[in-house]
Amino acid sequence: MTTDPTTYVLRGVRPLGGDPADVVLAGGVVAALGAPGSVDVPGDAVEVDGADHVLLPGLVDLHTHLREPGREDAETVASGTRAAAAGGFTAVHAMANTSPVADTAGVVEQVWRLGRDAGFADVHPVGAVTVGLAGERLAELGAMAHSAARVRVFSDDGRCVDDPILMRRALEYVKAFGGVVAQHAQEPRLTEGAQMNEGVVSAEIGLAGWPAVAEEAIIARDVLLAEHVGSRLHVCHLSTAGSVEIVRWAKSRGIDVTAEVTPHHLVLTDELARTYDPTYKVNPPLRTAADVEAVREGLADGTIDIVATDHAPHTREDKDCEWAAAAFGMTGLETALSVVQQTMVDPGRMTWADVARVLSVAPARIGRVEHAHGRPVAVGEPANLTLVDPAATRVVDGAAQATASGNTPFAGRELPGRVVATFLRGRATVLDGAVVEPAGAGAR
């Protein structure tokens, strides 16, 4: 157990990749920031050497599966938020497809409290759009919005709100409290039994196809619905070139739509299904190299607003089986920032300021947590910060990760960048690359 000092000085760090600075964190906020050697540092401050390290606002994930309540064998709020901290996140939005489903004020408050008790990252529960994710009638969205968890994002993620009138009502209803519907775009009839992207590879290896049109048709319908009723729409884990085109078109019309892409859709393709290794089974499925290029381009030009992990932990037994029998999903909290660096920053398609935008500022704004997260790196702002060493490289080892599950698709791959420190309201949740237990917590 580590004592939790209240004052840190980060030496020589580059806020948003800019000029070097010394940054003092005290009292839960950024207390001082200036050129190296120019700021007053309290005598008891803990020194953090940050030469050539990039300082970002703490990362915010709009799409995390923490599995608690219900599947604590795969992940808990505590283990999932430890993974979040290790990956540089200070806030996560916990998806609603738990057991019981997060479709009442009681469940979302429970998840919110578990997050607060764990102390590794702020947990903002996502509420289900429909009761039991069944797609039949609206859950009590108002009660969740007005609960202690202050839910603003609503999603049946894992399932699509495919009934058009129900989707329209949800889009309209959440306007009363500034909410947003985050749609898992998957036309269900076009994807019955679907196992992987439908195309050249699925035809050859004999796995049932999940066609791009099943995603694009729903996104096209939803942006038109959002325009018609003047609501805000968020598109979860967009994965195809056609989806990027539709969102680009919608934004050009002034429709209030935001979109996310996962780290895995920025780099992995359906060619990996040839191994029949269910680690690569995910929903929406890995697409083609052309789709990967399209989502990178969409992220670079702002069509896609954010990167969200869709961190989906699963037990060994749910992945150690036939492809068709395996669960969909892969973990992502501890590799997301590295994948964004590798695919967008290192090739020169995005700056570190852009990274702060897509992994912190924009997701905080979409999730309506911008009062605390995604803030500027400036004096007086909450000390929710992430310090990254972009020159470091590491080989991903699933067993060494903080998440309770081992289903990372990046196992054995070398990725750039390492989270050196994460601060949540001035408390180090990660220091020297290692997770720091909260003061008063027992050793784990």
Partner: protein, 331 residues
Amino acid sequence: MKHLLSTADLSKDDALLLLDTAAQMAATQSRAIKKLPTLRGRTVVNLFFEDSTRTRISFEAAAKRLSADVINFSAKGSSVSKGESLKDTALTLHAMGADAVVVRHWASGAPYQLAHAGWLDAAVLNAGDGTHQHPTQALLDAFTIRRHLVGRRGGGDPDGVGADLAGLRVAIVGDVLHSRVARSNVALLRTLGAEVTLVSPPTLVPVGVETWPCRTSYDLDATLADWQPDAVMMLRVQRERMSGGTGGAFFPSPLEYTRYYGLDARRLALLPDHAIVMHPGPMNRGLEISAEAADSDRAVIVEQVANGVAVRMAALYLLLAGDPSAEGNDL
């Protein structure tokens, strides 16, 4: 060859070695004593996660005629019904010392996983996985085609030993989308130099078929009359493709299917005189093939079954006994 998982993995030399070895095996089957001592003391497990009496007894006969010990392991049930997991089954077979595992599975890729996941070190023979591959079916089809269209016609070796299928035209007709037989045949026939045309209603060809090394057509009459195939392979149409279940019906009615894609006496007459009619069985008489076509002189369907045993003997022999010229491996 360590495993036989997909015909796409076979080089032309591999394929010819399998077919030529099958011809040697077939020759031994006309002897009074059919049993060979080659695999004495070796254990072959028939691991069937899906019912297929025909395929199982064909592999069983093949293994027994090579004097292997045969264990039949029926592991029906999907993950949904919470049967024993594929992994635990594999570990069990490994512990029992299986030398070869013949696996039939409802899930595409299950044999590939058995061969590559490190759960067991036996040779894996794919006896049909999901909608992926059924390599011994394609090999027995190629063997049958070679015997009829290269061997007997060519005047050389009656089995066509040593020859490939260069220049021959094969039409594969029916539900290509769900067919492991079609996928296996397209790859193998192409490797052996034959030309393939797939004939299906547009709902029963996969998206992505355009990269396959073959032609596709929606018109059976035109394919038979204009392209003049040397062999016509009819695929079985599963009953569930006709109903409105998952995904809905793939064609309006069985009658309409038969009208456009069924092989009957009239279509048989469009073929060249030497052309043969094939079917992997079991047939839906009156649906994809009429009784006249199935029972005609052109049909080699029963012979396909006999050749299946010889081909499976060859596959087991090559995977387990290795180099056929090695000492003690005389046939």
